[in-house]
Symmetry: C2
Subunit: 324 residues, 2 copies
């Protein structure tokens, strides 16, 4: 018997494309990928386009999902740029994609009788936390008029909307709060520290560290994240909604990260210290006990291994772009 | 020279109708009132409908504001039900009115070259605070998946959207966080404690107090609130955006409120104690130092005086409804 179809919104993005690939190639589900290609790219899906079980639809979910899009058993809503560089470009779009986009996804789910909607929320809902690690019950510390509020508050309001639909329309929703994720396919120019360091190292430029480099971060490798997302979306009991943290709980300082990047790239770059910039002090580290308990899941890819694979990807992209 | 026109969305609601009246009759501005009449009523505006400077348009701001609506110098966005009873009825609507409604108001403001948009935010953005009083800089304690999250998070995200428009489109926005308000014209059946007590007292029924009655609240009389809103919207420097708390900082216990209600209504009702209900423990009291400084404003109507005027209104409504 054929497995149920899965719709992935934002499926041409970094995480979305990996989700599509795993669903198709490992789990055997037909996949419909929706993306407006604002920050995603069909290049991320190049190897999937010939698969007869894969359908790509260019569509912006802030507009209603067309009725002729085939119904799916699951809908994974991964549509919304997550990196500060993209968010700053169009703050209104971030908030509208979070709310209006989700509303359109939920309405489509109801009319097409989907079983489950997975909502990609974010560790950013905790804002600038004063407690570490952050449990799912921690209400967060977000400034509604702060510089990233359109993303942080938009994603918080999206969680609220998920619960309203569950309550008022009876639809199953699963909320995953995704933390910092890296790996092959990630954007080179999204301003994330992993992308910056890898690009600098592979170009033989100094690695720029802001402040003393002791700031702590956590980094989850993409394969682990995709595994967590799909377990939450497809393998949890119907009544389990979350929110559930998904991310790495292994702390790494920015300076340690820089040193591992130099090691895996065999770069001779120096590490250059620059003055700390405002708003870089945040420490977000997820408490993932609930994910372990509910999903039997935790990240298994070490930072060295993950960065080696990511560096290989960056090398290919940088070489290709140098040739053209 | 004629004064600039003012659009009031939610103008048929409790606060909105008072705002319309003051703008027209005291300040001499032409007023365009938009309301979808979901919780507001044209009865609130009965005395204004014959005024040639007053225009009522039945419109739901989750749809774009029609282009033929005349342009206005100021837009006061007061559209969104605020009381738990109305919010619980349609949570999706609360969040969409907050975000999509505001987006439509802001877009109309830009195309019609309005000077200023006032956004009615709420003390509910502080959620269930662990500090009292709440300053504007306090990030609040809101559970994104809690029972009132569609309102609390919707209003937080709305503030974020205001700031995005100010930054990206250059429009002046003024954000007022409105706290508990009462007075003539308020809903009798919205589940607020003032309305419940007055209705019970005037019907000779027992006043129902949940828990020990020591819960602290603050209550701002409508005339004071309207004065604060209009000062913030129209009399502050262009670069002042807020958010700014507007409300009473005078603490009153629920039991004291019950006793004052019995006094001003001369009712013989007993005060009946019922078990505390979940979620009634919140203490929201605004720190209003910033409002005093920026607006030269603070509430001046005492609770006894305000309740006398409100009781007179309730008496009229209850008598009228008894006759029909």
């Amino acid at each position: 018997m054929a497995k149920g179809g899965v719709m992935v919104t934002g499926g041409a993005g970094f995480i979305g494309a990996h989700v599509c690939r795993k669903l198709l190639e490992e789990l055997g589900h037909p996949v419909i990928c929706l993306d407006n290609l604002s920050t995603g790219s069909v290049d991320n899906l190049a190897d999937l386009l010939a698969n007869p079980d894969f359908t790509f639809v260019e569509h912006d979910i802030t507009h209603p999902i067309p009725e002729d899009v085939p119904k799916c058993l699951y809908i994974l809503n991964l549509a919304c740029p997550g990196s500060p560089v993209f968010l700053q470009r169009d703050k209104e779009k971030a908030i509208l994609t979070s709310i209006l986009g989700l509303r359109n996804v939920l309405r489509f789910a109801i009319t097409s009788r989907s079983e489950t909607v997975f909502q990609a929320s974010t560790g950013a809902v905790y804002g600038d936390p004063e407690v570490t690690p952050q449990r799912e019950s921690y209400p967060g510390r977000v400034n509604p008029v702060g510089p990233l509020a359109c993303y942080e508050e938009g994603k918080r309001a999206a969680e609220a909307l998920c619960l309203a639909y569950r309550e008022q329309c009876g639809i199953r929703v699963k909320i995953g709060r995704l933390f910092n994720t890296y790996g092959p396919g990630m954007h080179l120019n999204a301003g994330t520290v992993v992308a910056n360091f890898l690009t600098q190292a592979l170009r033989g430029q100094p690695l720029t560290v802001y402040g003393d480099g002791r700031q702590i971060r956590t980094f989850c490798y993409i394969d682990d994240m995709v595994d967590g997302i799909l377990r939450l979306a497809m393998d949890t009991p119907g009544e389990f909604t979350g929110p559930l943290n998904l991310g790495s709980d292994v702390e790494v300082s920015i300076r340690e990260l820089a040193e591992i990047v130099l090691e895996v790239t065999a770069a001779k770059s120096e590490i250059r210290t620059l003055p700390a910039s405002a708003g870089t002090a945040r420490l977000r580290r997820p408490e993932i006990g609930l994910a372990k308990q509910q999903l039997g899941w935790e990240p298994t890819t070490g930072l060295q291994e993950g960065l080696e694979k990511t560096a290989a990807y960056f090398r290919t992209v940088l070489e290709t772009s140098a040739e053209t």
